[in-house]
Symmetry: C2
Subunit: 237 residues, 2 copies
């Protein structure tokens, strides 16, 4: 599937200084970046390193809540709080749903991917393949990787099932459910662990969101010491 890149979103409200403290392979940071760009918010990216947070970051988040969004004089911390804040503060484009029913379903999926998908899949893959290496913590635990792969297949089936009935994961429109699922999957895909061929519907959904301009910065980013998978940047994968 080849899609023509759409024109870049035009940033709005450039008078307010916004800074997003993120980590490149953090799935939560990635979900938020997709949402910020889809909302057409301008912001500065400030990269943080796991276990080596900057003094500036610690002043904003002494207890260590991550990630952090600074909006003018106001500091918002933790992914879900940032999502709700962004929706409340910049309502011109709605990515949460218009009715209570729509919002309940989008939020259910946000927490499905933030909690269930992350703890069953992304956490293990990141820990075994990335964090252990950076901390000289030994070889990846193949049992953990295998369990994560099994869980990933179930989640891809679930994404396929959702996308077979809906235009986007959360319903008729693009929502945070898509950004959050894509943020998690993009990390696994960078590491080359997504069996796309066996999950055609999920692949169609991912190709659809991957071709959006908001996704481009994530595709261009390289994580030090880890080469992205062969197909990671391809819109036709």
């Amino acid at each position: 599937m080849v899609q023509t890149p759409q024109p870049s979103p035009k940033p709005q409200n450039i008078s307010v200084r916004r800074v997003f403290y993120h980590m490149p392979l953090c799935p939560f940071s990635r979900s938020l970046r997709l949402g910020f760009l889809e909302k057409r918010l301008s912001f500065t990216l400030q990269e943080e390193r796991i276990n080596h947070f900057s003094d500036e970051f610690f002043q904003l988040s002494p207890e260590g809540t991550f990630p952090v969004w600074v909006d003018g004089a106001f500091v918002v911390k933790s992914t879900n709080a940032i999502i709700e804040y962004i929706e409340e503060s910049y309502p011109q484009t709605n990515f949460m749903g218009k009715t209570p029913q729509e919002r309940a379903e989008v939020r259910r999926l946000i927490y499905w991917f933030h909690d269930k998908f992350f703890h069953e899949v992304t956490h293990h893959v990141l820990h075994e393949k990335v964090l252990k290496r950076s901390r000289s913590g030994g070889a990846p635990d193949s049992k953990k990787i295998k369990e994560a792969q099994t869980a990933l297949r179930d989640h891809l089936d679930y994404i396929s099932w959702l996308f077979a009935q809906r235009n986007w994961l959360g319903g008729a429109h693009l929502t945070w459910a898509d950004f959050v699922a894509a943020g998690q999957l993009s990390v696994i895909d960078y590491l080359g662990d997504v069996p796309w061929r066996k999950h055609e519907k999920a692949k169609l959904w991912y190709a659809r969101i991957k071709s959006r301009p908001s996704f481009r910065p994530l595709l261009l980013e390289t994580f030090v010491g880890i080469t992205p998978s062969h197909h990671y940047r391809m819109l036709d994968f």
Copy 2:
């Protein structure tokens, strides 16, 4: 500290049939029940058993999202989606905060306890002490319990730190931050694992929320086969 029980909240809107599908020692179910009673919502409790969900439950939640709140004809699934739905639908008493800043802090703490506290403390304690027993899965892993105890002490320090500066955990008013923290802690306290004596400020906060009428149903409940700790029901502990 002895407190006189306050009169029971008077249920409102009894014409709408509301059912909450819960589990007695589920910390998320407990947080929500506190919130429902503080909101003065009437509802029927429908008990579910882990890994033995009823057919009725599976019809509402085929993918297994838990817990589930049925509000008339509308089904809301997953703790965070239910909290946001309740706040949106029953705004007469606000437990999320009035300004964007207040809400951001309350939500940060909701996810702090739902994600960090649960995965570092409650999950391990429940798994080792309750789930293993009910599944005949062997003796509790003392290493896991010890790690959870260490994390719990850090969390109690954090609660003490918050309560030293604020009237309630999330700020000047009672909010979901309190319900969510209390839901998690009440499970650990039932099992007798909270070192209250070493965390006086956290204990003061817990005594304060424990003495509310909304807490009473949780204190009276007994989990089959597991006796609550000696002090679990005492308001002066």
